[in-house]
Amino acid sequence: MSQVEISSLNKVYTVGGEQITAVHDLSLTIEKGDLLAVVGHSGSGKTTLISMIGGILKPTSGTIVVDSTDICTLDDAQLSEYRNRKIGFMFQFASLLPVLTAMENVLLPRIFAPGGGSNHHRRAEEYLDVLGLADKRHAFPGELSGGQQRRVAIARALINEPELILADEPTGDLDEETEADILRLFHQLNREKEISFVIVTHSSEIAAECRKRCRMSHGVLEQEV
């Protein structure tokens, strides 16, 4: 069952009067429960692709249909709700708000969700516990290591129980042990909760652990492995 249908997607940036094609005529289907790795060199358009799937970047042309709705046609409020309810983002950097504690960072998506942030503290605590941060709930990002910050960001991506997690180099600067822990968690979530994953990575090891793989080069989806 397809969860995301991408057709003829293009993204052209204009930088200093020059047009740069980041994604060119890309079509892709993501099935529910997929664990998909997108590999490719820097500048190949991987981040641009998942940014468009996640609704944080508007494509120049093409369609991205999620649950029968082309998200490219949504207005700001609808797109925000889509990001909030259906998507979990993990960025290349930890992307935590420095003024909020770990717990508050995890709960951040809830304050933008319909119905507010109540009754999600227990779930946030559970994620932090599972991620080994039980004693760091009230620590600020500046008091956490890079790996701990990354794990807080993972908990934040999970708090709204999204259907699709878009992870951009999720273990980029982590040690091997933390990387393995995080990948194990991804597999567990994928298996137990049927959350789909699109993981952008340079790492062939991470890609090897995913059920599906595709490669991007110069904005073009070259092959599905």
Partner: protein, 416 residues
Amino acid sequence: MTTHASQTKFGKLAVALRNLKRNSFRTTVLVSAIAILVALLIFATFFTMSVSSTIEKASNRLGADLLIVPVGARDFAQEFLLESKQKSFYMPKEILPRVREIEGIESVTHQTYLETITGLCCDVAQAQIIAFDQHSDFIVKPWLQNSIGRALGPGEAIAGSETYENLGLELLEVEKTIFNKRFKVVGVLERTGTGLDNAIFMTEADLEQIVAGGSSPLKQDQISIIFAKIGRDLDPYHVGLDVEGNIIEVDVVTRREMGSELLRKLSDINKIFVLSTVMGAILTVFLVWAIFSAIANERASEIGIMRAVGASESHIVRLFILEVVLLGVLGSLIGTALGTYLFMSLTKSFSLLRDLSVPVLSIRPLPAYLLQQTLIGAASIAVGTGICIAGALGPINRIKRLEPHVSMKGSLLCRR
């Protein structure tokens, strides 16, 4: 294990508060700027309202529609009645029946003012003596009834509430010498809110004895002022013109004209206040704009992150507005307190206020006064907060339009 405290607190307000705390210097600068502006606004409002309200109340409390004084003494009379300045001015008593005969005049009474001369003939502190005719009087009588419940007898005097004679002393049955005549000061008048509060009162009959004794500069059959009531539905201005037209020796001040000179001064001061407040407001708007522009740039990546996790443009605007409102309300509250304190403490530094007959804040009944102050405070908070929002709207509008991806890209570039 429980995090119940944080469970109930975390929300947009918590985020706004944390953002304000992150740069306490910047927050302090903004709050101070708003506080100073609001303090100026409060001070100016209190000052203006107090002066005009005091003048209005004082002229109403006199209970007369027209004040008839010797030609050229118009300002003296107002200065005495409103500003408690000691003044002596006289006209022949024979004017009194002429005034009474003018159409529209319903009743008249008169008073005679005399300044005491310390040490020579009087053992009271220098004060204004007011002699009044108990038969026709409608100015002092209501206050006298409340004070001693009867008319003044021969050789009796009563002191105004603000006179030196009333400074913490129980005045009943105090013997005083005024122009070589012994008086028994039998009581203290209630506060009237007029220049009468700074005078010592005696009957006209006693004053005539003083004049006859020759120890005062006053001559027989001289009076200072005539108070007149006019018929219902008549225009005091037109009746006043009639009086002046028929009796060329007098000037007439209507109740509405009372304090007009003070109000003219006040109008000029108001212009300065308005100009200062407008300039202060413009400066504050620029300051808020500059600081929020910096804040918006600094937080671009954080806003991008919030957008990515589901914040809409309106969420971002609301978060910033909440922050701005907190700043505005805090600054306005401090400003309101500061402005009120400044007004209270500096009242006596301004001759315009100092010379008014009564403390300006004691004019209104307490509930009305509190309501007025609350309304002024609420309006000031609204103005302070509004100015803060006006300054921040531009930067907020700019930052909300950034695509989340662009905001975060900016932050990545900054990190590299």
